[in-house]
Symmetry: C2
Subunit: 822 residues, 2 copies
């Protein structure tokens, strides 16, 4: 790429439009963008600093020089969307301008136009493949806890049995599976039932602990960023923050492996949330193939938004839900183009995952439902009850989990992360093995709970001895429950308590862990229990006023399985506070477009109730806990303050405001200023007495100039540094001709003119601007800083950091834990 | 409401925080918001103008004084979101501050918090009821073209037959319907088949013409705004433009009636688009019940966004599609809160419409599909072909329709709108009666085309004599087509040509008309034809490389009905350029979550191909045609200009910049300025020589002050008008103490201090700011104007009008037709 650019540069006119390399530092680019029609022609007594050589040297050193990009923002800095996007438009314009020059450039232009689509295609494909591999891997490792395929250890139970049956065509239909050995069978020592159970139990605990230890060790040693679901961090990154390495290849690899192990260990956590992180890693990695995205943090976030959509899509097979999740929950800057591209990315991911077919049920839909009866109006009452419970659960979970995470952070427990995970795995495995509903994986449990009882179902949950086979398809809802159902309810109830207790302590430990599936599982259990209770009430009191209209002896009227879905939706809604994306995910998961009203009612109630206790979802709570500088773009702030009260320096310490003057500061002055202060950026004003804003200059750019000048020249300290270009000086003097003489500069001192560095388009607000407007400005334009003026005079600067600190002060939080940019 | 406010005012401290009524003019409010802590205490030699009396007098005249709101913006003005939203926050703060004072205020506070939900509930309910009534009405009027229920003329055919069968239990199963008389039966004169046909034909044309005439007359006489789909105008209104009466009760009534008549007349138009307009009318009307929304144009648009979602929801029974349609296509300002509220509104609407049950098929889904075979990979080729055709159709339709509408506008045809509609109805009725596929309503046609052929279907389209009944459920796809299918293809082909030709001339005439259903109908016909062709090719060449893998003699492999859905999606996508909302609407319409990939592929191809010919959808094209000042918030502008090149006055006429000075202008100066210029707003600068921006003042406010002063005092002309408050003057002089003496004002002339009028939070950009950034600022903050400065000095003003004009100039369009605000 760079080669082409340089070729063009040498063939084109030296004084042509757009003299500066588009990949140079943002400010340099900006200054030329803002006055592209004013090429600077060297005067005899003036020296024009041109960056072209400096930057090109750096650029020529390597085409894919990621370091060049990385140096632009330091770790834990916030990005400046406005400038980054301008830089991209400028790059695009340059490319287009050159299109006429050669056929190759035309191809480059097309490549550029399509690179966004190509990139999301690659992201979708890779996310799909990784999700498929993880699903298969998890399945195999999970089965390892119970036994092994002796002939081919790499097969899981189903594959093993299928393979062995293939060999002996005679007994296809028997349940026996000759090649699969459970651990008691492998060791073959205990013949008694109790002994066998004990051995299975011990092996189960043993393997669980091993897997969990492996996961936590991997994370601890290789990629500390791989723990958790990653969604809070990705929200922060998409909000314009730099966390270097968070989306790297190591994180991707370790998170994938760790997730398989952690899930297989039986810990109460899901692998759906982490998929978002994994997909975003893919997005980040592939974006480096396309400099348009890899070298521009703002543009890269477009790819990451699409990747997040693909993450949800591959986790649930829900492309539209994924896009909406990305739009509603994760993304910050979501332009129209991104919406459509995200959809494409999510779609590709879902297609790949389906073609690998990890759900194995032949359906495109994970928890496919097909109920025989529609829902009745009176059922709205239990549905809303489920919504209330979901909201309460959400509030309880967020409070307890944050409390525990804070405790872990501040106490000595934080130093024993490995021990914590191992201990947790031991406890979890010992408990969950004892209950059939917790022993199966949570996905399986959800699938069973949301399935209607059929004639052929002989499990406890479907023990309706007196049911009449009305529809020929379902036996669920007519007839009193048998003893099996009572037993199942008790088991489910204990499963509920176990999951609730364990998940609170599990989410936040140092393994990859998501909370979507656990929340859904807890909700589904609650829902199914309430469903069965409602069903039995309706059967026993068919003439009760509520049931009279819809229920009769001959008809099914309550489907407990539907309650499980509604419960899953409500409980997930209570925790995540998602709204429309939740409902869409739920019906993409279940295929139940008909049940949109119950789902919506439950989600809505859960959110309302939950918001009454805790504002924001679990992800926001974790962002706050970790002190990430995330400026929420959904929250409505209600502040009575003005910019004056937030800007730095505070009025009482006015002298501390660091600024440059346009044409009166000497080399030594500038050098001193840079020494004494550490700001990223300095405002440039007319004079000290007339502090009217002229523009802004980046510290980095100034430093480079000072350094290069020092190398080449002597007696610098008295040289005046002038932040003007020739043309600009003329324009200025023309404009101000009333008051000032034409030549404002005396010739008695040498002058270095660095107009190139000056960005003449700073964002300015007046000091009386309400903070609400200022925050809107920062959120919607993605600013990093704005200058505060009164009657045109510079009074201070507001940065994103100041705003976040102010918001925290207003809500009386401490701001110590926040990583702030400088 | 006002009563309460006033009561509180008199009981509270006179110098308390927030002295000014929240319903006063925006600027007045703003100035007090920006310095709430500086109450103005009258000096002896200074006169403080306080607006409280003036505005309260106006407010006391009526609690629901809509005029007060209306006078705020004139017709065809753009609104200032930023100030309107600030005003609402201020109102909310006032309300909250008073909550502690009494229990009643607490209730008011809760009412305020819930009024948004209450309002959208009412909107959803009313939109649902109106949609239900219109559906039933349309059904009845449509049947009137064919015959009448003699005993009860208010029943349509089905109801009539059902009623008559109820009376005579014996022959329930016969097709005969004794009470329903076709027109030949009514007149009973012609016994021959040809005569009967002729009479039916004439009656059909007669009624069609009558209905169409009625519709156009109603629109012409009572509500000219009721024509068209209304979506371009609603987009413009939601973009922050005022079109008074466009969402009024008359428009609502006439549009509802006109829509029934126009649809029943058989014109090639749909009633789904206009539902959006109708729902928005409901939104506008109900918002006046809640002053929070009715009196604040920016807040009102939140309700309108939700109403638009409800409109799509009631039209298609697609609540989620509706929300996404509102989000993607219509809305401009869509905060997070609105998303959830829109969903609720859409949901309520869909529920109401379903409980009225106008689809009559017992399903919740309008075009319910249930295909027996999944789609095969090779089918992607015809699906993408359909996408290409859809894109081409979209481009063709937009170009032709806009050309025709422009011709109508500029030629004498525009004067004969009634004749045009009557003529069109005559022609349409005469043609469409002759083809069975056009004679049925377009909804019925789509329903038939997207239905799979079943064993019991005896229509032409399902004439597969050699089919084997493989699945027992479907006979569609195995076996060669019989002569019936060939006949059906020809009929469909002619129907296609008729619809394509007619719809181009129909959309844009002066009756309520939507183009969603016509586009879908044309797409469905094309899709079904291509589907049948593919099916026959696959059957005749089962060993061809494409078909070999998926098709065999025993299996269905092509479902032509699926092609109809994909076609409908592609053609609608080509015209409207919708993306994600289109796909969601399609699967909410059909319930076919499994077919999301074909739908997506077709929609995506259609958009890509279409965008190659025409940028933007039909609604954008109509906005441009009508010259509405709509600043597209999706388009990415690629401009190389800066604010300097767009601002007014242009640099060459610099003297024309109209501004006020802070403390040097006399009464006469200000009066002259107001006489000589007509701007809505004036910048206030320090002095003429030092044009540093202090703030801005609304023309209206100035006029009121001048008038009230004139009434009370004499010898005004030499009085100085000072735009400062006491505290501010102190602060200023404190800040500028270096250069200026403490007392800058001599006491030799009287001074009127109107600091109250001054809004000290104007938006300022530098003249070198790239226009892309300026446009972003205007779009994202919803600005009406911004001041352009250089080195702090005011150089000009940019208004939304200037930006739109600039964009149009850049894309070399003429700007004459645009309604601009002043």
């Amino acid at each position: 790429m760079n080669k082409e650019y340089n070729t063009v540069r040498t063939t084109s006119n030296e004084q042509s439009f757009l003299p500066i390399n588009p990949f140079a530092e943002p400010t340099t680019t900006m200054s030329s963008t803002t006055n592209p029609n004013h090429p600077h022609i060297g005067d005899d007594d003036m020296i024009d600093i041109d960056f072209r050589n400096t930057t090109n040297e750096k650029l020529n050193s390597g085409v894919m020089n990621v370091d060049l990009v990385n140096t632009r923002y330091d770790d834990f800095q916030t990005i400046d969307w406005l400038k980054d996007l301008m830089r991209d438009r400028f790059r695009h314009r340059l490319l287009r301008a050159k299109t006429r020059q050669s056929f190759l450039n035309k191809i480059l232009m097309y490549h550029d136009a399509w690179s966004g689509w190509l990139c999301v295609l690659l992201v979708g494909l890779s996310a799909g493949v990784i999700a498929g591999v993880i699903d298969i891997g998890t399945n195999w490792i999970s089965h390892l806890k119970h036994g092994i395929c002796l002939n081919a250890f790499w097969l899981n139970r189903e594959q093993c049995c299928w393979a062995s049956r293939n060999l002996q065509y005679t007994n296809v239909n028997t349940e026996e599976c000759t090649e699969w050995f459970t651990w008691p069978q492998v060791f073959g020592t205990y013949k008694t039932g109790a002994g066998q159970f004990l051995l299975s139990y011990i092996m189960y605990i043993f393997w669980s602990t091993i897997f969990a230890s492996f996961a936590v060790l991997l994370v601890k040693v290789f990629a500390p960023y791989a723990c958790g679901s990653g969604i809070p961090e990705i929200k922060t990154i998409l909000g314009g923050f730099i966390i270097r390495g968070y989306l790297g290849k190591w994180t991707l690899l370790i998170k994938s492996i760790g997730m398989m192990c952690a899930t297989s260990a039986g810990l109460i956590l899901g692998k759906e949330g982490p998929f978002v992180h994994i997909a975003c890693c893919c997005g980040n990695i592939f974006s480096y193939l396309f400099p348009k995205y890899g070298r521009n943090e703002a543009k890269k976030r477009e790819i990451l938004s699409a990747a997040a959509a693909a993450g949800v899509s591959v986790a649930f097979g829900a492309p539209i839900g994924g896009v909406l999740f990305s739009l509603e929950e994760i993304s910050y800057y979501f332009p129209y183009k991104t919406l459509w591209r995200s959809f494409f990315c999510a779609m590709v991911g879902a297609l790949v995952v389906r073609s690998i077919n990890p759900y194995g049920n032949g359906h495109d839909i994970q928890f496919s439902i097909d109920y025989s009866v529609p829902w009745a109006s009176f059922e709205m009452i239990p549905f809303i009850l489920l919504g209330i419970l979901g909201g309460l659960w959400g509030a309880f979970f967020i409070k307890t989990n944050i409390w525990w995470c804070r405790f872990r952070k501040n106490s000595r427990l934080g130093q024993y992360t490995i021990l914590e995970v191992v201990g947790l795995a031991l406890i979890t495995a010992s408990i969950i093995y004892l209950n059939p509903y917790t022993r199966m994986s949570m996905s399986e449990l959800i699938k069973r709970l949301v399935s209607q009882c059929r004639v052929e179902d002989m499990i406890d949950l479907c023990d309706y001895p007196n049911s009449q086979f009305v529809t020929g398809k379902s036996k669920g809802s007519v007839g009193l429950a048998g003893p099996g159902v009572h037993r199942a309810i008790w088991q489910l109830f204990f499963a509920l308590i176990v999951q609730v207790a364990l998940v609170t302590f599990t989410i936040g430990v140092k393994v990859p862990s998501g909370l979507i599936i656990p929340s859904m599982s807890i909700g589904a259990i609650t829902g199914r229990i309430i469903g069965i209770i409602t069903e039995q009430l309706a059967i026993q009191n068919p003439s009760f006023i509520l049931f009279r209209h819809d229920c009769s002896k001959e008809e099914n009227c309550v489907t407990p399985a539907l309650y499980a879905i509604v419960g899953a939706c409500a409980f997930l809604g209570g925790v995540s506070k998602m709204t429309i994306s939740l409902v869409v995910i739920m019906f993409e998961l279940t295929g139940g477009l008909t049940y949109i009203v119950p789902l919506m009612a439950a989600a809505m109630t859960a959110k309302w109730i939950g918001d009454g206790f805790v504002r924001g979802g679990i992800y926001d709570a974790h962002i706050e806990l970790n002190g990430y500088p995330f400026l929420d773009n959904k929250e409505e702030f209600n502040l009575t303050t003005t910019a004056e009260e937030v800007m730095r320096p505070r009025p009482e310490q006015r002298s501390a405001l660091a600024f440059l003057t346009q044409s009166t500061m000497t080399f030594a002055d500038v050098e001193n200023l840079l020494k004494e202060t550490t700001h990223t950026l300095y405002p440039v004003v007319v004079t000290r007495e007339q502090p009217y804003v002229v523009g802004q200059v980046l510290r980095r750019d100034l430093q480079i100039v000072l350094k290069s000048q020092k190398m080449h020249r002597y007696r610098l300290s008295s040289t005046v540094i002038q932040f003007t270009t020739t043309s600009e000086a003329t324009l200025n003097s023309d404009f101000e001709s009333d008051n000032q003489p034409e030549q404002q500069l005396t010739a008695n001192s040498e002058v270095i003119r660095v107009g190139n560095l000056l960005d003449q388009a700073p964002i300015i607000v007046t000091d009386q601007t309400p903070m609400e407007t200022v925050i809107d400005l920062f959120r919607k334009l993605g600013l990093r800083q704005a200058f505060v003026t009164r009657n045109g005079r510079l009074r201070g600067i507001i940065t994103k950091k100041d705003i976040l600190r102010h918001i925290q002060q207003m809500s009386s939080h401490n701001s110590e834990a926040t990583y702030f940019d400088n």
